[in-house]
Amino acid sequence: MAFAFIAFPLLMAALALAVPSNALRPWLLPLTGAIHAAMTILALMRPEWQFTSAWLVLDPLGKIILLVVSGLFLFCSIYAVGYLKYRMERSNRVFCACLLAFLGLMGLVAWSQHLGLLWVAIEATTLVTAPLIYFNRTKLSIEATWKYLLVGSVGIALALLGTFFLAYSSTGKGQEPSLLLADLLRSAPTLSKPWLHAAFVLLLVGYGTKMGLAPMHTWKPDAYGESPGVVGAVFAGGITSCAFLAFLRVYQICAAAGEGAFASRLLLFMGLFSMAVAGLFMVAQRDIKRMLAYSSVEHMGILMLGLGIGAPALYGTMLHVVTNAATKGLLFLSAGNIHRAYASKSTDDVRGAIRRLPLSGSLFLAGFLAITGSPPFGPFISEFAILGGAFAAGRFVVAGLFLLFLLIVFVGMGRTVLKVSLGRASAAADGIAYRDGLLTAAPVAALMALVLLLGLYIPSPLGALLDDAVRFLGGAAI
C-alpha cells in the first residue's frame, strides 16, 4: 500500500502526458485526488493494510501530513478543472502531469523513514513544481521560476550536506553510519555533538528554505505571486507541510540526543524573525497574492515557534499544520477567483470584490479573519494553544512578541484585504465576463466550512491522530 501512494499518482501523471484532449485531461486531477483521499482514509483506519517496509512506514507525524496533503489536493484538483477551463488557450499537459507527480512525491515524503530518501523526494518536489510556476509563460513568471529554482536548489543542497553530517555524527563509536530514522533515534545519545550541531543548522537552513522561513523566504512572494492561485494553494499547504515534516524528523533526533535546548533557541529565533519580517512586508502590500505569500512566511514562523516552545505547545503546532493548510487553500483559491475577475491582483485595480464576486469575495474576507486568528475559526484554536503552551512553558517574552507580531500582521493584512473586498466594484472589472462557477467556488466554500468546523470542534479521529503525533514527538523530547 505504501508503494501505491507513490506509484499511483505517478502513473496518472504518465497518463496525463498521454491523453490528447486538453478539455478531458484536467479531469484526471479530481479522479486521482478522490482515489488518493480514499486510500488515505483506508490507510489511516486500517493500519494492518499498510504493508510497510523498513523505509516506508506511516508514523503518527506522517499520518497528519498525508491527511493534510491528500485533503488539500482533493479540493484543489476540483478547482483546477474549473480554472483550466478558463485557460483553454494553452496546453495543460505539463501542468496536469506535474501536479499529479507532485502528489506522488508528497506521499513519498510522508511515508519515508530514510532521511536520504526523504531528501530525494523533497528535492524532486522542487523540480516538478517549477513548471507549475512557469505556467503563464510571461517574463515575470520566468523570473519567479528562476529565483525559485536557484534559491530552492541551493537550500536543498545545504539540506543534503546536513543529512550527510547527521549520518557522519553516528559513526563515532564504531557503528555503521545509518540514515534510518529509527536507527538514528536509537543511537541519538551517542551522536557526536559538534557534527550534530552543524547538521542541525544546515538542515534548518535547507528545509527552512523550502518552508520559506525568513531570511530564506525571498523566492516565496515571487513564486506565489506569479503562479496560478491553485498552485499557490498546494504550495502553501502542501510543500511547506512536507518540508516541515522533514524538519520535524531532524528536530526529533536532536531532542533525543539531549540537545533540545540548543534546537529550541534557534527555532524560537527563526520563528519570531519570520513573523517579524512577514509583518513588516505585509504592511502596505499592494499585491494580494504576494500578501498571502508573506502570510505563509508568518505561519511557517508560527510552526517553528511552536516547535521551539516544546512539549506544551506541540499539540497546537501539529493542529496548526492542519488549520494553516486548510485556510491557505481557501485564501489562495478565492484570491485566484478575484484575480481572474479583475485581471489584476493589485489593490490599485481590485476594489469591491464582494460586490463583484459575492461568494469568492466574502470567502476571501472570512479567510483573512480566519488566518489572522480570529474566533471562531480553526487557526484561532491552534494559535491559542501555542500561546497557551508558551505561557505554560514560562516563556512570557516569547508569548508577548508572538502576540505583538500577530497584531502587526492583522493590521497590515487587514488594510489590504478590506480595501480589496469592500466598497464599490472598480472599473477594472468592467468587460470581464468571469463569474463564480460551481467548480471554482464550491471547493473554496467547502474549505471554509472545514476551517469553521475545526474552530468549533475537532473531530475525534483527528484529535486521536494529533494526540498520537504529540506523544510521538514528546516521547523523544526532553
Partner: protein
C-alpha cells in the same frame, strides 16, 4: 592510496580557484566537468574492496558530472551565443582571493570537527566545505544565468566529496536518486536559462528585477 586521494583533493581545490579566475564561460564549464569526473574516481580509491555499488556509483558520477551535465550546459551556451561573463560583481582577482580565504576558513573549521576514523584522509572535510563555499561565491557574484548554474554544480561537487565518507551509509538507490535529482535539476534549470535568454534577449540575471516589494 591515501597519498593519491590527497593529491586528487588538492587538484580539486586548485580547480576551484581556476573556476573563479576565468571569465570565459566555456572554460569554466570544462574545468568543472573535469572536477566532476575526477571526483567520480574517488569512490574507487576510498574503498579497499571494490563492490558493485561502489563501481556503479563511480561510473554514474563520472558519466553525469563529467559528460552529460557539461554537454547540456555547453549546448545551452551555444544556443545563447555568449562567450564571456560580463564584469562580475567583484573582479576575477578578488574572487580568487575570496576563494583562497574560503579554503583557509574550511581548513580551520574542519579542525573543530573530529573524524571518527583516523585512517581517512584529513583533507576530505575541508575540501568538501571549501568547494561548497566556492560554489556559493560563483552563484552570488556572477550575473550570467549559465555561470550561476555552474556555481550550483560546484556546490554539489563539494557535497559529493563529503559523501565519500559515508558510502556505506547511503544505499545505492538513494545515491542514484541523488544523482538523478542533480541531473534533472540541472536540466530544468538550463531550460529555464534558455527561456530567460529568449524572453529577455540576454542571460544577464540583472534584468530579472521586476518582482520586488
Amino acid at each position: 592510496m591515501i597519498e593519491l586521494l590527497n593529491a586528487i583533493l588538492v587538484i580539486v581545490l586548485v580547480m576551484n580557484l581556476f573556476a573563479l579566475g576565468t571569465s570565459r564561460i566555456l572554460a569554466v564549464i570544462r574545468i568543472v566537468a573535469a572536477q566532476g569526473a575526477l571526483l567520480g574516481f574517488i569512490p574507487l580509491l576510498v574503498h579497499e574492496r571494490l563492490t558493485v555499488p561502489v563501481v556503479l556509483a563511480s561510473v554514474a558520477a563520472i558519466a553525469l558530472k563529467g559528460i552529460a551535465i557539461p554537454s547540456i550546459m555547453i549546448r545551452a551556451l551555444r544556443d545563447a551565443q555568449i562567450k564571456r561573463e560580463v564584469e562580475p560583481l567583484i573582479g576575477l582577482l578578488p574572487s580568487i582571493l575570496l576563494g583562497a580565504l574560503a579554503t583557509a576558513f574550511a581548513l580551520l573549521f574542519s579542525g573543530q570537527l573530529t573524524l571518527a576514523d583516523p585512517r581517512t584522509s584529513t583533507l576530505i572535510v575541508p575540501t568538501s566545505i571549501a568547494t561548497a563555499l566556492v560554489g556559493f561565491i560563483l552563484l552570488t557574484t556572477r550575473y550570467k544565468a549559465i555561470t550561476q548554474v555552474v556555481g550550483y554544480l560546484v556546490l554539489e561537487n563539494g557535497i559529493f566529496v563529503f559523501g565519500m565518507l559515508l558510502i556505506e551509509a547511503i544505499p545505492l538507490v538513494v545515491e542514484m536518486g541523488m544523482l538523478l535529482d542533480l541531473f534533472v535539476g540541472i536540466f530544468v534549470i538550463s531550460i529555464i536559462a534558455n527561456h530567460i535568454n529568449r524572453a529577455f534577449s540576454s542571460m544577464d540575471t540583472r534584468r530579472l528585477i521586476s518582482l520586488k516589494d
